[in-house]
């Protein structure tokens, strides 16, 4: 049940990347995602790929594990490649097979777009592999803090996220219990046509939703009993702090970006 959730699965560790403040990581990854689209020659692509690979090495995670983590995206990357290969009709013809022509421009376009895609997925998965979901939540709350001034309910959103994270294992357990209970009453979840199997999910979802709502109601009451009344006048146990490591990382990152922009044509 839990194996399909590998994307975004946190691996505890003590590498340089693990020790960075989650806000630093979030800022770097967010800007990286934008910058990837500015690459326009092999030098700039090469530079970004080098940067991503060094990040991978710095996490000290097994490379096989990281690549396995992005398995679901491999298909998309491959599909994008093939699509560009066929659609783009620029440059000289390389091969011609049964009516399809593959142009030089197609190969190039396919490669760059897939590489771009791969870099995006790789770097974002590094964030979730080295940062616990709670850290990410805290970082988002901190970074979005200024939005409170224009009445964006940042604290409430962060609390919603952390409560959802806290209840994921609970609801997974519950799903398993319900599916066993329904299987013992003769609901067949494993065989039959796709249509049959989709219908079989209904007796799973209905009890799950009912119990989730009941939980939510009880949780709300427990929170109220413990004095929760919104973000006002609230202190926080979890506190994020930028360390010298973060400043050094930021400086290096800015240098990397400057070099990147000088490599573009």
């Amino acid at each position: 049940m839990k194996s399909f959730m590998i994307i975004g699965q946190y691996v505890p560790g003590n590498s340089l990347i693990h020790r960075l403040d989650p806000r630093t990581k979030l800022i770097v990854i967010f800007t990286f995602v934008i910058i990837v689209f500015f690459a326009n020659n092999s030098w700039s692509y090469g530079w970004l790929t080098l940067f991503a690979l060094i990040l991978v090495l710095l996490t000290r995670l097994r490379i096989g594990y990281i690549l396995k983590g992005i398995t679901p995206v491999w298909f998309l990357i491959f599909f994008t490649f093939i699509l560009h290969l066929i659609i783009t009709k620029e440059g000289s013809v390389l091969i011609e097979i049964v009516g399809f022509t593959i142009h030089e421009g197609g190969v190039l376009q396919g490669l760059t777009i897939s590489l771009r895609f791969f870099l995006l997925v790789l770097v974002t998965s590094l964030l979730t592999l080295t940062t616990s979901p709670m850290e990410i939540t805290d970082a988002i709350e901190e970074l979005l803090g200024p939005l409170k001034k224009i009445k964006v309910p940042v604290h409430e959103l962060a609390l919603m996220m952390s409560i959802s994270l806290r209840f994921i294992p609970t609801l997974l357990d519950e799903t398993e219990k319900i599916s066993k209970a329904q299987a013992s009453r003769g609901v067949d979840l494993r065989t039959g046509s796709i249509k049959d199997r989709i219908y079989a999910i209904v007796p799973l979802l209905v009890p799950l939703f009912i119990s989730a709502f009941k939980r939510a109601e009880e949780l709300a009451m427990a929170m109220e009993a413990r004095g929760y009344r919104g973000s006002e006048g609230r202190t926080k146990l979890r506190q994020l702090q930028f360390k010298s490591l973060d400043f050094i990382a930021m400086i290096i990152y800015v240098l990397i970006i400057i070099i990147f922009f000088s490599l573009r044509n």
Partner: protein
């Protein structure tokens, strides 16, 4: 002595068509008293706890906490002095780890971070969970989660502790853990404690027992005298502990005399051998 909780002619029902859960209900609980409120399902016992900390509002009548009338404007302030532990250990665990969960109530009260860390440590030590600070709820047993819930409440230094069927969803081991935790708290601290339960084993810890039936107090007594009228308890749907039933049968069939009915095996054994000594 001050009155910690007082109900004056309280009427309550969940909606207009429903029957009254509490009807002209009066109750006084003194400071530092440990009281059990027992009754079968639907006798109104859980409603009492929810009314006492303002989670529910009565249709008529007054509720006074430490002599102050509970109103919409002071409910948050009064609630700060009342800790409540609910039935389901899973659905009252707010934090992603034990430490965060204990912190939740403190954060709500605006306690400075340094003080928070200190209080988290002390209250987790009180319930014997100090080595579990970084554990996530799905790695804890029901009893452990419930102990964390008690620690979360105790960290806010409440004057009144309400336990709303806090052991009813636990296995026998978890139940034992909670009862011994409650026992220790009672020894260490001066606190008013109200235990709402349908398990007659739990009343062993209390000074006073209130039996609820159909929204009224059926009996207001002590542990020692509760079972003198066991037929009455049975008639309102409460089942007697096995040891009490056995003692009653011994009296009926073999001419034994028990001064008080034993609530657990140990007491039962003691009652048996002392009764033999007398003969």
């Amino acid at each position: 002595m001050m009155t910690a909780i007082e109900f004056r002619d309280v009427y309550f029902r969940y909606n207009e068509d429903a029957p009254w859960v509490l009807k002209k209900f009066n109750l006084k609980i003194e400071e530092n008293e440990t009281v059990a409120i027992i009754g079968h399902n639907g006798s109104g016992k859980s409603t009492i706890a929810k009314l006492a900390n303002g989670l529910l509002v009565p249709q008529a009548g007054d509720i006074l906490i430490n002599g102050r009338k509970l109103t919409a404007s002071n409910v948050w302030e009064i609630r700060q002095n009342i800790g409540m532990v609910f039935q389901n250990p899973e659905n009252q665990f707010v934090g992603t780890t034990v430490r965060d969960d204990v912190a939740f109530g403190l954060e709500n009260r605006g306690i400075p971070r340094k003080e928070m860390i200190k209080r988290i440590h002390t209250s987790l030590t009180q319930v014997g969970m100090e080595n579990y600070q970084d554990h996530e709820p799905h790695n804890l047993s029901g009893g452990q989660k419930q102990r964390v819930a008690i620690a979360s409440v105790m960290a806010t230094y409440p004057e009144i502790l309400l336990l709303d069927e806090a052991t009813s969803m636990l296995d026998p081991r978890g139940r034992k853990e909670i009862l011994s935790t409650i026992h220790d708290l009672k020894e260490e601290l001066e606190i008013t404690m109200v235990m709402i339960t349908h398990d007659l084993h739990e009343i062993i810890l209390t000074d006073r027992v209130i039996v609820m039936n159909q929204g009224q107090i059926y009996k207001d007594t002590t542990v020692d005298h509760l079972f003198n009228d066991y037929q009455g308890l049975q008639s309102i749907g409460l089942s007697l502990p096995l040891t009490v039933e056995l003692a009653i049968e011994l009296e009926r069939q073999y001419d034994y005399q028990f001064t008080t009915y034993p609530l657990d095996n140990e007491e039962f054994l003691k009652a048996l051998w002392t009764s033999n000594l007398k003969e």
